[in-house]
């Protein structure tokens, strides 16, 4: 079998596996639901998540140890992940193949090395500096890391569209940042029309990481100059634009094996030979490195100058989310919790609390089938970096060993008396009281002055902020009973 055939099989397999693993990320026990499937397989193999969280938290969360396999294999045989495994890369390769014709001369010029390909290294440096800043760091790598990016795009865009249009899923799913998710995803896919695998060549910080660590690769693409007729055909389908016909840029080589196929003179091979025309390290300058590091140092403090706090923007984190500064150091923005959440209440944040919080999980009680369900702890068990800590049901509900600690509080509900039907208009209602799931209820009633009508009150001690009341409130817009992050368990309590 030709190596390119093997590569294609591998790409199709991993692409299908990726989509399958996203699709089965739903609560349930059927084979097409999340039973024993290792649904974080790709996120665990992604070393950028591991390195990013190591820089930000100085710890390696257990499942991320899998990424060591990727790192070691890359050191030995180069960027196999990009060429053989990466599902986002496979998508780009497919679109590029569709987008450009078969004219060899055009293809050769299309696949020329561009010195702007080193931008991705600078992007990597900027993101790693932001992750490693020290006390105030933030894991923003997930914005561009292809595995979280593609996971998010499939979870929050592709699968909901398929589910709604084919009626495969009984209940439609909604995600509030769909426009942004679509724009980013479609932009990167359509840029393949401008240059094949545009994202991989110019943007991908994961590819950049591989480009930095593949320099000692034992197996490499080599051009045997004694056989070579200098026809340049090996450049014509080169996925990394690393120019095997010139001085091959090893750091750019995606191990796609196309050059082996294109060579008619048996001059190109993937072996351990010592090559005469090879550039091992990427086109990085010391000046560029310093500029990128400086940009990274400046970026996060600059973003935070906007003064947008998650709390004032009403970003309510899912139950089990770590304290905010720890949470933001771990969240990959992969959207796994949003996909798994059975009620669809976990939503991606938009830009309301700045770029730093974009696509982080928040609760929107007005979307989905019903607030945060009392007897559910799914989100903590899927989070690949434990930004949302796995909780047992006993810990969430404050039962058993956790009896003295009390239940995990997500936030607190406030009755908006200017909108609440009994309070504002003297109309009977009490939907919120009826649906409060804690026992004894956190929403209680008292009669009005004429003793003809019951009005709802919230007991902040008992309220866990599940948002079921806000979901069911008949008043439009945000409802007349509104949950805010106040009083949440993961913060020091100064009031409530």
């Amino acid at each position: 079998m030709k190596l390119t055939t093997a590569r294609r099989i591998s790409q199709v397999f991993f692409f299908a596996l990726f989509i399958w693993l996203c699709a089965v990320t739903t609560v349930g026990e059927k084979f097409w639901q999340q039973r024993g499937w290792s649904v974080n397989f790709f996120l665990n193999l992604d070393p950028l998540g591991a390195i990013g969280t190591v820089l930000s938290t100085h710890k390696l969360y257990a499942p991320l140890l899998w990424s060591l396999i990727t790192i070691i294999l890359t050191i030995l045989i180069g960027r196999f992940f990009c060429g053989l495994v990466c599902p986002f890369g496979a998508l780009h390769q497919f679109v590029s193949h569709f987008a450009h014709g078969k004219k060899t001369a055009k293809l050769i010029s299309l696949h020329k090395y561009h010195k702007a390909q080193n931008i991705k290294y600078y992007i990597l440096i900027i993101l790693l500096v932001i992750a490693g800043l020290g006390g105030s760091s933030s894991l923003m790598i997930g914005l561009l890391d292809p595995i979280p990016l593609f996971t998010r795009s499939v979870n929050l865009l592709i699968l909901p569209i398929i589910g709604t249009s084919t009626k495969i899923t009984a209940i439609n799913r909604f995600y509030q940042t769909s426009l942004l998710t679509l724009t980013v995803f479609l932009t990167f896919v359509l840029l393949n029309f401008y240059k094949p695998r545009f994202f991989c060549l110019f943007i991908c910080p994961l590819g950049a990481l591989f480009g930095l660590i593949n320099r000692f690769a034992i197996l490499r693409i080599n051009r045997n100059l004694s056989n070579c007729t200098n026809c340049k055909l090996c450049n014509s389908h080169c996925q990394g634009s690393c120019e095997p016909a010139e001085t091959i840029k090893l750091s750019e080589c995606l191990v796609c094996f196309n050059c082996l196929d294109d060579c008619k003179d048996n001059a190109v091979d993937f072996n351990t030979a010592k090559s005469e025309t090879i550039q091992v390290s990427p086109d990085l300058s010391r000046r560029g490195f310093i500029a990128a590091a400086f940009t990274g140092l400046l970026t996060l403090p600059a973003l935070r100058l906007a003064g947008a706090s998650y709390k004032d923007s009403n970003l309510i984190r899912p139950p089990g989310a770590l304290p905010e500064n720890e949470f933001i150091k771990r969240c990959l923005k992969c959207g796994q919790c949003m996909r798994l959440c059975p009620t669809n209440v976990i939503q991606p944040a938009g830009l309301e609390a700045g770029l730093e919080n974009l696509w982080t999980p928040v609760m929107n009680n007005r979307i989905g089938s019903s607030g945060c369900q009392l007897n559910c702890v799914a989100c903590g068990y899927i989070c690949p970096t434990a930004a949302i800590r796995p909780l047992t049901l006993a810990e969430k509900l404050g039962k058993g060993d956790f009896g003295t600690k009390g239940p995990v509080k997500i936030g607190t509900a406030f009755v908006d008396r200017s909108k609440c039907l009994p309070w504002a208009y003297g109309i009977p209602c009490l939907v919120c009281q009826e649906n409060c799931p804690v026992s004894p209820k956190a929403i209680y009633t008292q009669p009005d002055d004429d003793k003809t009508l019951l009005r709802p009150y919230v007991d902040p001690q008992r309220c866990i902020g599940c948002g079921i009341c806000q979901h069911e409130c008949p008043v439009g817009s945000k409802g007349a009973i509104i949950v805010t992050p106040d009083g949440q368990s993961r913060e020091n309590k100064f009031f409530l």
Binding site: V27, G28, K167, A170, I171, N172, P342, T343, N344, G368, S369, S370, Q373, L374, N375, C376, L421, I427, P428, C429, L430, V431, Q433, E434, N435, C436, P437, V438, S439, P440, K441, T445, L454, I468, E472, C473, P474
Partner: protein, 331 residues
């Protein structure tokens, strides 16, 4: 600059093409032209009268009350007293069971219809020759989680009943003749359309707004849309639902009664052991007796009084001469 002049022939061709294009655009505009702006008036489509699933009444066999600790034995006895399931379900008929699946809570807190009851009634239907038993509800919490956590899904699966999750395409806007609230309102219509018989399986629960949630309140689960708005006039919506759906039979489970913190409960301390199972062809009568399990009189529940006035049933359940029995089996 010298430019090639267009030939006469080319000029005519170009003019003809332009002329046809312009004419086509004008014709299309004329065809689509709307002189009056769209009207704001609401269309009342799908006007329906009562959806009647009842069977002919048999004198003296309208209501039965069975005392005992086990739901499976009490419900079997209660139905037997009324003439057995064969009276209600004929061979080859499709049956819809409408339990209360409102909340994603485990069966031990009794906020939802107990899976044992679902299992037994499904069995009785199949023994009577039912072709297919369906189970449907539009819960308050996430539907799929509700069916699973209440163990109604597993009880259904074990006994061959099919769960119909409230998919968006199962709903249909309905206008009930003579109704004020059910006008153009989304109803879980598809399951009702599929079947020949409908059996309500409700529980007795404390409920702040309607005072008690029993057989009649159980039909609230057939409403879709932003149904919370009906809490402003909850008695009227309960009565209108009784006008819309006339069930074959209602079974009211008072084995464990939720006396406080309803209708969600959440703790076993909210429950009272009452060991009572009611089967009735008259849901007003069933609820009138059920009220006594919460130490209430029928007159305490405005929807029962209203329903009786409209001839939907009687609050004087004693007049139906209910059949009493006592069973001991715990099953």
């Amino acid at each position: 600059m010298t430019q090639n002049k267009i030939s006469r022939r080319d000029f005519i061709v170009r003019c003809t093409k332009a002329g046809f294009s312009a004419a086509a655009a004008a014709a299309l505009a004329g065809w689509l032209y709307e002189s009056d702006p769209a009207k704001l008036s609401v269309q009342f489509d799908n006007i329906v009268d009562v959806m009647n699933y009842s069977t002919p009444s048999v004198a003296g066999k309208t209501m039965s009350i069975v005392i005992g600790p086990g739901r499976q034995t009490t419900v079997t006895k209660a139905v037997e007293l009324l003439g057995g399931m064969e009276r209600f379900v004929k061979p080859g008929e499709n049956v819809l069971l409408k339990p209360n699946v409102g909340f994603a809570m485990p069966p031990r807190v009794c906020a939802t219809t107990h899976p044992d009851l679902i299992a037994q009634v499904t069995k009785l239907c199949y023994q009577a020759g039912a072709k297919k038993v369906f189970i449907a509800d539009n819960p308050i919490n996430d539907p799929k989680s509700c069916f699973e956590l209440t163990q109604i899904a597993s009880a259904a699966q074990k006994n061959g009943a099919e769960i119909l999750l409230p998919r968006q395409d199962y709903f249909k806007p309905i206008t009930l003749k003579g109704a004020e609230l059910i006008t153009n309102w989304q109803i879980l219509y598809e399951p009702l359309k599929k079947v020949d018989k409908v059996i309500g399986l409700a529980i007795v629960k404390d409920h702040k707004r309607s005072i008690a949630s029993m057989s009649m309140k159980n039909w609230y689960g057939m409403l879709g849309g932003n149904r919370s708005i009906f809490h402003q006039d909850i008695d009227k919506i309960i009565v209108e639902l009784a006008m819309l759906i006339k069930p074959t039979l209602v079974i009211l489970d008072g084995t464990q009664v939720m006396v406080s913190n309803g209708p969600t409960g959440g703790s076993e301390s909210d429950l009272k052991q009452a060991n009572t199972m009611i089967a009735s062809c008259d849901q007003v009568a069933a609820d009138s007796f059920g009220a006594s399990l919460l130490d209430l009189k029928p007159q305490d529940l405005p929807y029962l009084v209203k329903a009786e006035k409209l001839g939907l049933g009687t609050t004087d359940y004693q007049s139906l001469k209910p059949l009493y029995a006592q069973v001991t089996g715990a099953g």
